[in-house]
Amino acid sequence: MNGSAIGVSRPRHDAVLQVTGRALYGDDYERPGMLYAKALRSRHPHARILKVDTSRALKLAGVKAVITAEDVPKNRYGFTHLDQPVLADDKVRYMGDVVAVVAATSWDAATEALDQIEVDYLPLPAVFDPVEAMKPDAPKVHGDSNIVSHIKIRSGDVTEGWRISSEIVEDVMRTQVVEHCHIEPHAALAELTDDGTYVIWSTVQRPFLIASDLSRILQYPMNKIRVITPAIGGGFGGKNEITIEPYVCLLAAKTKRPVKMVLSREEEFCGTTVRHPYIVKYRSGVTKDGKIVARQVEIISDSGAYVSWGESTLSKASIHAAGPYFIPHVRIDGYLVYTNNSIGGAMRGFGVPQVGFAYECHMDNIAAVIGMDPLEFRYKNLLTDNSSLPTGQVLEFVTLRETVRKAVELVGWKKEVEWE
């Protein structure tokens, strides 16, 4: 037998199309009579919307329709919390909130019309620091508290852990806001066919989520919504949720013409989700022989104006915040906090890169305090086969030690390592 298809290095199935420029990405699609859509975003990080007047924009040459919150059948979406409007209605909660979207016969006409949409705002006090936002008297982004969720992981008894520790080491680490920067911007094209089906070409990682969200937002049956993903120019979590698809669908219905929308790079930065910035506090207790016996972690995650994937991201971060080490006494508290900043969403690693940076730097700091080599300190504490995690989940197969040995084999370490 010639053998297996498994373990074989093959080029991507569509590589020939990609290298010849023939792969069709979102913005490469067009339909006859297609219109072009542009969004008007908020001018304030937090404000009440008093009035939106689109009448002047509608009179401009080439402008075919303008949609506002009134045009959206169900104007809220979100994975765990239905807190985000498709088009801002009562308030804007961050600079990226979309107030209106124009469809016109050219990109230029759509862009020019944005200036003619009049929006009256009543600016409201805003909050940008998640620690400030947690205080009872902080301006509220939604409802009566900015603390959206508190994730708890408890294992053993940290008080006992501190008691048996010979050293206790504390650290506070902060991570920054990061954009996905997939080189292809979001692009979507919608057409309402003669049989009443919305066909949407959209550069998304989750076409079925887009279809179900559209079904709810548009109040339209899923068998009449067809989401097609063309070639996608990178995602990294940035194309994980609904963004511009409702706009092109609503405008296609209103104008009876296909409508395309493509975000500018500036909109990718200002109007789409980002990696949550975290403030992470670590406290660990170690014994004289270098065993970690207790770890307490507090995570504050800035969700920005809406939850998006913030709660599930924080949950994943909390579950892994103790690191890949066996620690009997663990207490983890994660807080997700609304602010008037950009929205934290899904991004490659989903909260774990933030805590991973923190726990691995913390590990080096502990090693320095107890005078151990950072590699040997880790090796001593790593999870092994059948270790249990702070969640109680038991990991049957653990190859951490193999990965350490392999990395040393590839590039060497500061000193000769004596493996246990």
Partner: protein
């Protein structure tokens, strides 16, 4: 002065969604010429999942990779998938494709069994043939079997499959439960050179040892690791979207600095394969984990090189110089 240092970082990462049901599904049909089409809702955003899923289908059906066509990412034409997220496609949709392919193959084996006068369980498929286990010279071409199945027996060789890892919700007070089906592990070691006059960090090389269960396509696994490292280099040293009272101050690549070809170190990838029993042919995932250890390994290498601990990402030259000055003052 330029000083060198090495830093290490380890990580563990789960494959799939946290606690929630996390299904993927697929349909497979074998045509009467022995080629096959796989339908799945999973999309490929560049990570290579469609290629990997085709390899899984080829292996399970015993049909050559070149004879598999993938239909993906169309909510009208393909069965449900949760999405290309959480490093889940190889593990979860891979299992769904394998199950769908297995079901289609079962029909082929039953039809072939009648012809070859053995039980279906005594047969296997490979290289475009169905043959008797241990007797590869006694075979039928899959094209022939598929034609007989469809047009002779009236049994089109089709299959459907879905997979959802066994997970449980977390207890809200203790966080206890089984949130994930499988885990991957990795260690990276970074070697850096820090210029103490300018604070500029050059990452010289990174060793990345990653366990992905089984590398269905080693070149694509390496590609994921190398790409993850570039994102990790950006996370550790360059990238920051600056917000001032909610306003993004650097909404262009002019001021938001991404790693270029000149910023990337030499990368040595080591793939560790310990097959995961619940994964398709032992595979787990690789997409997200590759980026995780990079930034802390670099930050720890900076500490090793010049003795300063950066606690806020990214480690810009300004932060490093400030920390170096503070360390000097502390000594004086």
């Amino acid at each position: 002065m330029k000083k060198r240092g090495k830093g290490i970082a380890c990580m563990f990462y789960p494959i799939g969604f946290t606690s929630y049901p996390n299904p993927g599904s697929a349909f497979v049909k074998v045509n009467q010429d022995g080629t096959a089409v796989v339908f799945t809702g999973a999309t490929d955003m560049g990570q290579g999942s469609t290629t990997v899923l085709a390899q899984i289908a080829a292996e399970e059906l015993g049909i050559r990779y070149e004879h598999i066509t993938m239909v993906t990412g169309d909510t009208e034409k393909t069965p449900f998938d949760l999405g290309s997220v959480a490093s889940r496609v190889t593990y979860i949709v891979g299992n769904a494709v394998k199950r769908a392919a297995h079901e289609a193959k079962r029909i082929l084996l039953e039809v072939a069994a009648e012809k070859l006068g053995v039980s279906p369980d005594g047969l296997c498929a490979g290289d475009g043939r169905i043959y008797i286990k241990g007797l590869p010279e006694r075979f039928l071409e899959i094209s022939e079997v598929a034609r007989i199945a469809q047009m002779g027996k009236g049994r089109p060789p089709i299959g459907s499959g879905s997979f959802n890892p066994i997970t449980t919700f977390l207890d809200p007070e203790t966080g206890h439960g089984k949130p994930y089906g499988a885990y991957v592990f990795a260690t990276q070691i970074a070697e850096v050179e820090v210029d103490t006059e300018t604070g500029v960090v050059e990452v010289l090389r990174i060793a990345a040892a990653h366990d992905c269960g089984k590398a269905i396509n080693p070149m694509l696994v390496e590609g994921q690791v190398e790409g993850g490292i570039s994102m990790g280099v950006g996370y550790g040293l360059f990238e920051e979207m600056v917000l001032d009272n909610g306003v993004v101050k650097n909404p262009q690549f002019t001021d938001y600095i991404l790693p270029t070809s000149l910023d990337m170190p030499e990368i040595r990838v080591g793939i560790i394969e310990r097959p995961e029993p619940t994964g398709p042919f032992g595979a787990k995932g690789i997409g997200e984990p590759s980026l995780l250890p990079t930034a802390p390994a670099i930050i720890n290498a900076i500490y090793d090189a010049v003795g300063v601990r950066i606690r806020e990402l990214p480690a810009t030259p300004e932060k490093i110089l400030k920390a170096l000055r503070e360390t000097d003052q502390g000594k004086a």
